[in-house]
Symmetry: C2
Subunit: 254 residues, 2 copies
């Protein structure tokens, strides 16, 4: 049994907590956070506390707090010689003090409080300087997912950057497309099969092979008409810029 204290009450902490509630190999013995209100959603299930009063008897302390807070919270933790992990895509391992037993436990996924994560396929990117610690982190990862992979601090920040393009930015483009439809009283449902196909396609083809559309064909007539239709200047700029990037990518004339 791995005893864990979760520090943080956001989406990552919430998803880890509820997944581990039904895991035999892990017990979350405590959740620590600043907000008494947010701690309340955990308190029916386990002990809750403020950050400077955490239970010192866990095996692993997981910091699921904002990037800015990781270093400070790690220093405040009243524990010695226990393994402390952060969950951030964009923070190096050396954000921790050299003397600390430390590591990284980065689940490569987007989490929302209203949607339960299924960790079984989510890559858990792990890192640690010490082999024994790395193995303990790997064991913890395997309680969630079959994909536990060692990723260096340098690689991890590129992975996080790529994830921003693949999720945050694509999702915002879906928001823009929804806004375009709503404005014309068209149902967003009409786009769902296309959105599903976009994802299904890249399970078979690479994104490079899957690319279609006016910019891929350098159909400047259609592109110009589209830019005219857009009312939002920022959306016009996004249209121009991504189209230009597509054209350059496929060696089309600009």
């Amino acid at each position: 049994m791995i005893k864990v204290v979760l520090i943080g009450t956001g989406n990552v902490a919430l998803q880890l907590f509820h997944t581990w509630r039904s895991a035999k190999e892990v017990e979350v013995i405590q959740v620590a956070g600043r907000s008494p209100e947010k701690l309340r959603s955990f308190s029916s299930f386990t002990s809750t506390t403020s950050i400077n009063q955490v239970n010192p008897d866990a095996d692993i302390y997981i910091l699921a707090v904002s990037d800015d807070a990781v270093r400070e919270v790690a220093m405040q933790l009243p524990v010695n010689d226990k393994l402390i992990l952060h969950t951030a895509g964009n923070l190096p391992l050396d954000v921790f003090n050299k003397g600390q037993r430390s590591g990284v436990f980065y689940p490569l996924q987007t989490f929302s409080s209203s949607r339960r994560a299924n960790f079984s396929e989510i890559p858990i990117c792990i890192e640690s300087k010490h082999k024994a610690d790395l193995e303990q982190i790997r064991r913890l990862g395997l309680t969630l997912s079959e994909k536990v992979v060692e990723v260096s601090s340098d690689q991890r920040r590129y992975l996080h950057l790529a994830a921003v393009f693949a999720n945050n930015f694509t999702n915002h483009l879906l928001k823009i497309s929804q806004d375009i439809l709503v404005e014309k009283e068209l149902d967003f449902e009409l786009l769902r099969p296309l959105i599903r196909e976009t994802t299904s396609k890249v399970e078979e083809l690479s994104p490079g092979e899957a690319q279609t559309g006016p910019a891929r064909r350098s159909d400047t007539g259609t592109m110009d008409k589209h830019i005219d239709l857009l009312e939002n200047e920022l959306h016009k700029d996004i249209y121009r810029l991504i189209s230009k990037s597509i054209q350059i990518n496929y060696g089309n004339k600009l």
Copy 2:
């Protein structure tokens, strides 16, 4: 039985042709095109011909040619009083001559030759000035899909624009994320669960509710680090612009 002549040999024609091959209610009696080579992939299954020699005995002629060619090909067709349809998202109905029985048959999907389309869920957007013609187009649409919807020329161009954001542009962002991983010798497989979740999420939540990430949080520290990591100036600009659009969208400070 609806007798159809398909004009064009690209992805749309190919997908329609192969789907209708196994449909009872439709017979594609001929495929017409300019390229003898491309016609060859149809010629084992049906009659093929050049555009100015099409069979005049069909009920419906479907122009699955490039936008620029629709008007000219429609004028060249040696048929009288037959229904002529185009399949373009971005062309109005009045691209046809007033005297022609005409309509629109726009399948809202991205097609690739290497991947067979499943039309059953694809919205077929139809339009015609005459009620009888519209009903015939609807019957044709229903041989492919349960979602046959009347969409005006004005609405359709916005639908096509929204589709460019939802498919072409999101796919290109996936290409950029793949390029970032390849550069650092990371496996694109690592991103697949995230890409799948991005799509699954918007089946439950709206894209606005599903938005996460540094720009959503206005985490300028992370955004600055990400821009530093990118080497391609165009990718830097795309990162800045979409992040700005997200921040404005959610009322964050810039």
